[in-house]
């Protein structure tokens, strides 16, 4: 972009900054509430996302109660069931996972891992959180407005989303769309920060190829999100116009209750294109940070350098690019031209290649590693297994001919919960166990953590494995009550009851986790600065939890990549990134 001769020193941020250049909180309010410190914003994002996520968890219990024991719970009627489905999906995908990975982990880890003092635009970063909070409040308020939240399904397909047969047609759908618009505005503010911080605020010696894969994952996901979320923005604004001003962007001419409606000629398929143009990249917006984080967890807890670092980076970038040309595989049953189906099935299956590279590399990192079965490692292993499972059923659904009969059955529910629900949540939980000591200075309780892992991991399989079978039987998704139908055997009903019991049990295990988070904050074992003996910069801060400005007086200097574990001849089994050559007896290149 510029022709200025290259100068490593001049282009790196100065090691020391003048006091005036750092943001300084002056009161309790600007320290903990209206804070511009990325670490505080990260915690705010995480707590808000977790709180609304808990609401979505409770909604899933209510849905399971209805599915497992239909007719028993009179307070769940068909309308409410649809509302629970919609809110559960929307909250989990957007307000929990996207916000947690990018707003939470992104804010905390990017500046620390690349050796920056803070994000480059702290004020905009603060605004990002407050707009996000507003979006969450607007979303939550729909539970209390007349008519309740929208029950259109998380995809909000028109025309049904705004017709009077759908619950939440009065206020629910309007507030839902407003909330999405706010979320996207808030995210864009945060996203600009994450991208520019990675581009410009890396410390001396931190080349792109020395960045931990966590940063690569979050960075690429943010770039994708910045380009993909506008599609949801456009779709939301246009639907809001259709609902409030009576335009016909998406609404076809139709008759409702015997009355010809004022709409004419709109295209519901247009909405589907816009929605999935966002919706498919969204899968990878959640998955790529998870890929990155899990790479770091595996490498650290197996005491071994990540296998094929370069391939991992290329695969992340490749997946990011490919994910923009597969969106219509969500629309195989929308009546599109068969040749489009062929094209999108092909691109979908091609994504399996970089994804498989990543899985092989994780497995090969584990191969002959010094595996410590710590709680973060357990969750990382749980992720790999779950992701492979969910990915394989993705190959089924990516094929048009297989997808057509399976579409709208429980098989789809099982697939995306495995690959996009359980797998990323495994990483989120593993990452919390991994970085909690850095955030708080205390370890989470190990025994409670292992209990939490095993119940969650085994429970998730007991919940979602049988769902594949239910789907193959032909049991449809989104049905409040499947009733007595000839093709559904009684055993299927028993299986549904079983799934419900397990789901409640897994939910209980999450309460144990919450207890662990709070209890360890006060009573946990002090962790010290680097309890996992990790190489990356965030573990080398002078203070734990990291103080204001992260690095004390001088920024760290990076002399090596992020994965120098078990280097032959080295004094310890890890060499931090800020340790120069000669400070250990490391043999150059012997690790490879």
């Amino acid at each position: 972009m510029v022709d200025v001769p290259y100068d490593a020193i001049a282009d790196a941020p100065p090691a020391e900054v003048a006091e005036v250049e750092l943001y300084h909180p002056k009161s309790w309010w600007t320290h903990y509430v209206f804070s511009q410190d990325a670490k505080v914003i990260a915690i705010q994002y995480s707590l808000t996302a977790s709180a609304i996520g808990l609401v979505a968890l409770v909604l899933s219990w209510l849905m399971r109660l209805q599915l497992g024991f239909p007719g028993t719970f009179s307070f769940i009627d068909a309308n409410q069931y649809l509302q629970f489905i919609t809110m559960h999906g929307m909250i989990m995908v957007i307000y929990l996972l996207t916000a947690l990975f990018l707003g939470g982990f992104g804010n905390y880890l990017i500046p620390l891992m690349v050796g920056a003092r803070d994000m480059v635009f702290p004020y905009v970063n603060m605004l990002s959180y407050w707009v996000y909070l507003l979006a969450v409040v607007v979303l939550a308020s729909t539970f209390f407005v007349p008519g309740g939240p929208t029950g259109a399904g998380w995809t909000l397909y028109p025309p049904q989303a705004i017709l009077s047969g759908t619950p939440g047609q009065d206020w629910g759908i309007i507030l839902m769309l407003v909330s999405l618009i706010l979320f996207i505005i808030g995210f864009t503010m945060g996203g600009l920060n994450y991208v520019v911080t990675v581009l410009q605020a890396r410390t001396r010696g931190m080349t792109l190829m020395r960045m931990p894969l966590t940063v690569w994952g979050i960075f690429t996901a943010t770039v994708m999100a910045l380009l993909a979320f506008p599609a949801l923005f456009v779709a939301s604004v246009m639907m809001l116009f259709d609902r409030t001003l009576g335009t016909s962007f998406f609404m076809p001419a139709l008759v409702e209750m015997g009355q010809q409606m004022k709409y004419s000629g709109g295209s519901p398929i247009l909405f589907q294109h816009l929605f999935w143009f966002f919706g498919h990249p969204e899968v990878y917006i959640v998955a790529l940070p998870a890929f990155g984080i899990v790479s770091d967890l595996i490498s650290t807890h197996a005491r071994k350098n990540i296998f094929g670092y370069r391939m991992m980076v290329w695969a992340i970038v490749g997946i990011g690019a490919l994910s923009f040309v597969v969106w219509a595989h969500h629309m195989y049953v929308s009546g599109m031209h068969p040749q489009f189906g062929f094209f999108f099935a092909t691109t979908t299956l091609i994504i399996a290649i970089p994804t498989a590279i990543k899985v092989y590399n994780w497995v090969l990192t584990l191969w002959r590693g010094d595996i410590h079965l710590t709680v973060p490692m357990l969750f990382a292993l749980g992720f790999i297994i779950t992701f492979v499972n969910g990915g394989l059923t993705g190959l089924f659904l990516g094929n048009v001919v297989v997808d057509v009969p399976l579409s709208d059955t429980m098989f789809v529910v099982a697939h995306f919960h495995m690959v996009m629900g359980v797998a990323p949540i495994m990483v989120v939980l593993g990452a919390i166990y991994h970085w909690y000591p850095k955030v708080t200075g205390r370890m989470l309780d190990d025994w409670l953590g292992k209990f939490h892992f095993w119940v969650t991991f085994l429970g998730a399989y007991l919940i979602f494995f049988p769902m594949h079978y239910l789907g193959l039987l032909g049991i449809p998704r989104r049905y409040h009550d499947i009733g007595e139908v000839a093709f559904i055997p009684p055993s299927a009903h028993q299986l549904n009851a079983f799934i419900t019991v397990v789901a409640l049990t897994v939910g209980f295990a999450q309460m144990v986790f919450l207890f662990n988070l709070v209890w360890s904050l006060f009573k946990g074992r002090p962790s010290g600065g680097n309890p996992w003996r990790a190489t990356t910069l965030e573990w080398q801060t002078p203070e734990t939890p990291p103080g204001h400005g992260n690095w004390g007086k001088e920024l760290p200097v990076v002399y090596r990549w992020a994965y120098d574990y078990s280097v032959p001849g080295a004094a310890q089994d890890f060499i931090p990134q800020n340790q120069p050559r000669g400070a250990t007896q490391a043999v150059h290149g012997a690790a490879s």
């Binding site: 790196a12 004419s264 290329w314």
Partner: protein, 234 residues
């Protein structure tokens, strides 16, 4: 969806070019530097704010490209009736060009350390931008007086929606421009405002470019061009 795919292809080329400069084929596991010696990070010499604006322009372009995609898909439906474009839009376009020129002038003046011209440029740019927005409102009014309401036809809906989105982006720009002008007014040093003036000018040129594309779309000028592209593709 061809407009957004085309836009993403452009972005992919830019990203690919940038990545190709980043030594992605290096073998970081073989690199181990002695103390005090480290490679450059590959960061750009541009200020962070400028890169931030660049990234934002990519996001905004993505938004407009998606609107254009939706527009071109929707206009092929049978109920589409193109609306007459008010002649006022040509005047507004001229004013927006003036606005862009004024800010460019302010930017050049800022480089020459000519503070008086900077103030004139900023004020002229801001005034003509506001004139443009008022002109757009009048155009809306002319249309609704003539019976072209927002919901009466999808062509009208798109016209109002797209011009409103563009106008909102310009209003956001006016906030930044207002802050810059206030800084200059309070007697800030040239070094403190030079970057702000430059960023405003870049943003204005971007919005002018977007407006010209949108105008071509709304007046149907680009139809012929789109047809040629379509024939080439098929």
């Amino acid at each position: 969806m061809s407009a957004i795919i085309l836009f993403l292809a452009v972005i992919a080329v830019i990203v690919g070019w940038w990545l190709s400069q980043q030594r992605l084929t290096s073998k970081p596991w073989l690199e181990e530097d002695p103390i005090g010696d480290f490679p450059g990070t590959g960061a750009m010499t541009l200020p962070a704010a400028k890169i931030g604006l660049g990234v934002f322009l990519a996001v905004a372009s993505s938004l407009f490209a998606l609107f254009i995609s939706a527009y071109s898909m929707r206009m092929n439906m049978v109920d589409w009736r193109a609306l007459p474009v008010p002649g006022l839009l040509w005047f507004n376009t001229g004013v927006l060009v003036l606005s862009s020129v004024a800010l460019q002038w302010a930017q050049v003046a800022a480089r020459r350390n000519d503070m008086d011209s900077v103030i004139v440029g900023l004020c002229a740019g801001g005034a003509s931008a506001i004139t443009f927005l008022v002109g757009q409102l009048f155009a809306w009014q002319q249309l609704s007086v003539a019976g072209y309401f927002v919901a009466s036809n999808p062509a009208n809906s798109f016209f109002y929606l797209i011009t409103a989105t563009h106008g909102l982006h310009l209003m956001g720009g006016l906030v930044a421009l207002g802050r810059t002008t206030a800084k200059v007014w309070r007697g800030a040093e040239m070094t403190q405002v030079r970057l702000s003036v430059e960023l405003c000018a870049i943003y204005w040129h971007f919005l002018l470019l977007v407006w010209l594309v949108l105008l071509g779309l709304l007046t149907g000028w680009t139809d012929g061009f789109v047809d040629i592209c379509r024939q080439l593709l098929s």
